[in-house]
């Protein structure tokens, strides 16, 4: 069993024809029902649904309040290293780019952790590039051991692992996995992932499922919007989340919607995704999957992020940097992508308070 079976069924599916056939009634039905199916989701993602954007937003807002209340979870990313063996055309750290390669040693990590913990962060996301050689699972495990002493929750955003490797890291204290398929369309995937471990579409696609079957607490998936036509990509992303939720009900599933940002490299084959598109995406996802969290990273600017809060976002990153050890700025400024929201934790907390949201820095902790 794999989500790939679902994707294969839809290869060759005429999305355009399907969108053309969406009627006003379909959108109305999708907004009135409780247990939305695939056609309801398609209707909400259709170009015709734009005319009902405010209605979809109202429903999304209500559902978010019902299931998440007025709380926003906050976390910060820690880039452990930027060594990479994969050549992915859209990424600043890809193996083909001339970039200063660095990796934190444990002392540096400790310093970074202390700094962030003092700020008040309790949930962190640790990232590496795609390099088993420079950042093997053992190195990551040891980092987790250190970070355990400072944070209540550690999630990983690293190269795809095997089931037993996920088990190892979960045993060490990891409770969340973030892994984006980047692009669900297999042909485009092949085009933008030239070589290296990340070029295996299915191994990556099945990664959240491998982690879920070893009982990881949270799984966060997503697509890098702009790599493929966004309507079909979000469709697959939503169905992927539903697939995980249906088959692994004990796992907390959430979604991210990163949009391609300026970065080092020459990747220009970008499908456009406007701000209005993002609003449609967030609200359609929220209505289709009322209980799935939606994270907004600092790829988006501050004003936009603030406006999206009431539309279905449940998790935000703060005080972000995409440079290795960037929080304590000991290193050079090799960045994965340009940050558009540079506010620190105190500033984000202020905005949330103004908008009547409670910032949640610590959602849970491990007892053992």
């Amino acid at each position: 069993m794999s989500f790939l079976d679902f994707i294969k069924q839809y290869e060759g599916f005429d999305f355009k024809k399907s969108f053309d056939q969406v009627k006003e009634n379909d959108i109305i039905t999708a907004l009135s029902g409780d247990n939305l199916n695939q056609s309801d989701f398609l209707a909400l993602l259709s170009p015709k649904a734009c005319a009902y954007l405010e209605n979809i937003a109202q429903r999304a807002h209500q559902l978010t309040l019902n299931y998440f209340g007025r709380t926003i979870q906050l976390y910060t990313p820690i880039y452990l290293a930027n060594y990479c063996e994969s050549r992915c055309l859209y990424c600043g750290f890809q193996a083909g780019n001339e970039v200063k390669r660095t990796k934190m040693n444990f002392k540096q990590l400790e310093k970074e952790a202390k700094f962030l913990a003092e700020q008040g962060f309790k949930h962190v996301l640790i990232l590496t590039g795609s390099s088993r050689k420079q950042t093997p699972v053992e190195y990551i495990r040891q980092c987790v051991e250190i970070l355990k002493g400072y944070f209540s929750s550690i999630a990983i955003e690293i190269y795809a692992l095997t089931e037993s490797e996920y088990s190892q890291l979960i045993k060490a204290g990891v409770d969340g996995l973030t892994i984006y398929q980047e692009v669900y369309d297999r042909e485009i995937y092949k085009k933008v992932h030239l070589s290296g471990p990340k070029s295996d579409h299915q191994f990556r696609l099945d990664a959240p499922e491998r982690a879920a079957s070893t009982n990881i607490r949270c799984v966060n998936i997503g697509a890098l919007l702009g790599l493929g036509p966004w309507r079909s990509e979000v469709f697959f992303m939503g169905l992927h989340a539903k697939y995980l939720q249906d088959n692994y009900p004990q796992v907390e599933v959430s979604l991210s919607i990163p949009r391609l940002r300026p970065h080092k490299g020459k990747f220009e084959d970008v499908f456009p995704v406007t701000d209005q598109d993002i609003v449609q995406i967030v609200t359609a996802l929220r209505v289709f999957l009322p209980r799935v969290g939606i994270t907004l990273s600092t790829r988006e600017n501050d004003v936009f992020r603030d406006n999206l809060l009431s539309l279905g976002i449940t998790r935000l990153s703060a005080g972000s940097t995409t440079a290795v050890g960037g929080h304590t700025s000991e290193f050079d400024e090799a960045n994965q992508f340009e940050i558009a929201d540079t506010r620190n934790l105190a500033q984000i907390k202020q905005v949330l308070a103004e908008k009547d949201y409670q910032p949640v820095l610590k959602d849970w902790m491990h007892l053992s």
Binding site: I28, L31, S32, Y52, E54, N55, D275, Q276
Partner: protein
């Protein structure tokens, strides 16, 4: 339009399953079952009474009906298994409704014992229809254990209160890929129609029919209601509320601000 229910290899036309308990006379049972052309009929297994020669209930059940033997009386999985095996020795062909109840106040079934019995009996080739207290994860366990359908209760046996467990049963219908048959507690045909509109594969009714003043008429009412509810489910169109127009766009207005 063909809409036959197929369970355990048998085509079932009438989605009203009928229980034969609590009737004043066996002859009425016969009238009811013949009038509505019942497809699935439940009976129990009991010790013979040497003092009064009991006519065999099977004489009152149409030969074309499928017999489903109820393990009522069982308080544990072990007892249910024993009754099931005895039913086979008695000539039953293996359709078993597992009813394990050790609660004499509400008669609520014990899901845990029911799952145990299902596992054993399914392996022995019985077609298991477990009667359960609606719980999504127990329903999944029952299907994993080999049940051919799941029978969540509508409300406690004999209470005739309708489908009080609607939300939970709806969740089970949405998430479990097996026929869901609401059993127990349905008091009126409209309640049976409600179950079918939700997506149930069938319903099982006993007390409401057996204790009605005119059992045959009540059975007809239930039978027709089940058909009506099923048609509504198949024909479900857009009963959506109209979208309220928005004079302003408080949530998405920012997209148009410059």
């Amino acid at each position: 339009m063909k809409d036959t229910l197929i369970i355990a290899g048998r085509a079932i036309k009438n989605r009203l399953f009928v229980g034969t308990g609590k009737f004043p006379r066996k002859s009425i049972v016969k009238d009811v079952l013949e009038t509505i052309k019942a497809d699935v009929v439940t009976v129990s297994l009991r010790r013979v009474d040497l003092d009064s020669q009991d006519e065999n209930i099977l004489e009152f059940v149409p030969k074309s009906s499928q017999l489903m033997v109820n393990t009522s009386g069982a308080r544990t999985a072990e007892e249910a298994i024993r009754i099931a095996r005895l039913s086979k020795a008695c000539g039953g062909d293996g359709w078993i409704k597992i009813e394990v109840i050790s609660d004499s106040k509400y008669l609520l079934p014990d899901n845990e014992e029911t799952i145990k019995a299902t596992e054993v009996l399914a392996k022995e080739g019985f077609k298991v229809f477990p009667y359960m207290t609606p719980d999504l994860y127990d329903a999944k366990r029952l299907v994993d254990a080999g049940a051919v359908a799941v029978m969540p209760l509508g409300s406690p046996i004999g209470s005739n209160r309708g489908i009080k467990t609607k939300e939970l049963v709806q969740i089970i219908i949405n998430e479990v890929k097996a026929p869901i048959i609401v059993d127990a507690g349905l008091g009126m045909p409209s309640e049976a129609a409600e179950c079918m509109e939700m997506g149930c594969a069938a319903v099982l009714v006993n007390t409401a029919i057996a204790t009605a003043k005119n059992q045959v008429l009540m059975a007809e009412g239930f039978s027709e209601a089940v058909k009506a509810g099923r048609k509504a489910f198949l024909a479900k169109g857009n009963q959506a509320e109209q979208i309220k127009a928005h004079a302003s766009s408080p949530l998405t207005g920012f997209l148009h601000e410059k």
